[in-house]
Symmetry: C2
Subunit: 249 residues, 2 copies
């Protein structure tokens, strides 16, 4: 049957999902979205995301490509409302648009922006436990900010990818790595780049937090990049602090 | 046994609580706190809150009075850490302080500050579904802001209290009712006052939202106050948008 390419912008609370990607027996964002798409379209549809977020990672602006059957000409507004009526409360479609036939949510993307949120107080914060990494000892934001700028530009990020990262090459370009205070108690790390290795943002944040705690010198980043050794960089920051904010095309 | 008066500042995510107050067979904040206090003190202790928040209402700065047995002289820091180790993840003690013997968390309070958060976008926001009231049609913030100022000062708030409010008098003083945009898509209502009637903040917010939607004239507040008629004011805004931010002594 003829079909027409569309893209959906999705927001989700990653807490109760085993990540984006379809996995048998697991609740995934792709899984619940494809159930809703099939209910609306009357036939199975495949959804392809710009970024396959890990278990627990949130999204404000995930982008998903889908081919809609031409037979049922559904206006975009009805598509958004229909899907939102069918989706569970932890996923929502923010908008929908038709795109040229060659559109590929993943390959057509020019870049992505992630936000990582840290809650830096001596006591737990119940209302932020699902969205922030709680760090009890005080972090010094300024060394973190300066260290982050050393990550900007094109580098070999071998030292910042997970052991099971399947990518063949490890050179990536980060356009912006910014560390800034948010509301009182909050530190926000924003990372924008063309493409990312597995756990790359979380490994960057884990390393910056060690710098903020004074456990690692702020000038350490160039040495880590040059080492290409994952064991030298910091720990992987937890998934629930991370949010995919935007995908650029 | 001798005892010493202390006050605890609490934060909690109200989502899974049937409110502050002890109720048989229900999970309440007072219930889980008293369990933790007894485990730490070795004897049952009673906790008294400044404000008995309703089911679903959150807190960043609830204040609780408790009499600690003198027998076990526990430093305040150990008290905070001990309680936080015993409390579930949706409640935390932010700080503790010794207070004069006559301290009564409720009666000694000079005032309280609440925040109500609205998410005003055409689509649901999964990451804010537990903390914001989702309003789909666009709200006009300016009329809401102007209407809110008419609530400031000393007034009879009979029209803004719930039918089952037990208070004998209905005159209260609000020092500040401020409506302002927060992050993009967010509208924040801040209310500071000496004392509050049951559902008063939520009824105020429900009325302001009708004004923001243009369903009610912005000059309506003086008429509502004068009417002393609950049926004339707006609906009760949902509990999950409300947060007790601070108690003043």
């Amino acid at each position: 049957m003829e079909s027409r390419a569309a893209r959906l912008t999705l927001a989700y609370d990653g807490s109760r999902f085993a990540g984006w990607q379809l996995q048998p027996g697991q609740r995934t964002v792709q899984g619940v979205l494809e159930v809703a798409l099939e209910a609306l379209a009357g036939e199975p549809l495949r959804a392809q995301a710009a970024g396959r977020t890990d278990a627990g990672v949130h999204a404000e602006g995930q982008v998903v490509g889908v081919r809609l059957p031409e037979g049922r000409r559904l206006p975009l507004k009805a598509l958004v409302q229909g899907l939102n009526g069918l989706l569970p409360e932890d996923v929502a479609v923010r908008e929908a648009a038709f795109v040229p036939d060659g559109f590929d949510a993943r390959r057509s993307a020019r870049g992505k922006r992630y936000r990582y949120r840290i809650w830096n107080r001596a006591t737990r914060c119940p209302l932020r436990r699902g969205t922030h990494w709680q760090i009890f000892p005080p972090l010094d934001c300024e060394p973190m900010r300066r260290a982050a700028t050393a990550l900007e530009g094109e580098h070999d990020f071998q030292a910042f990818r997970s052991a099971d990262c399947p990518a063949k090459t490890t050179v990536r370009r980060l356009d912006r790595v910014a560390v800034a205070p948010g509301e009182p108690g909050e530190i926000v790390v924003e990372v924008r780049g063309t493409a990312f290795l597995k756990h790359m943002v979380r490994n960057v944040v884990g390393t910056l937090v060690e710098i903020g705690r004074g456990k690692r010198p702020e000038g350490d980043v160039p040495r880590l990049l040059a080492s290409r050794d994952r064991r030298l960089a910091g720990p992987t920051a937890p998934a629930h602090g991370l949010c995919l904010m935007e995908v650029y095309y």
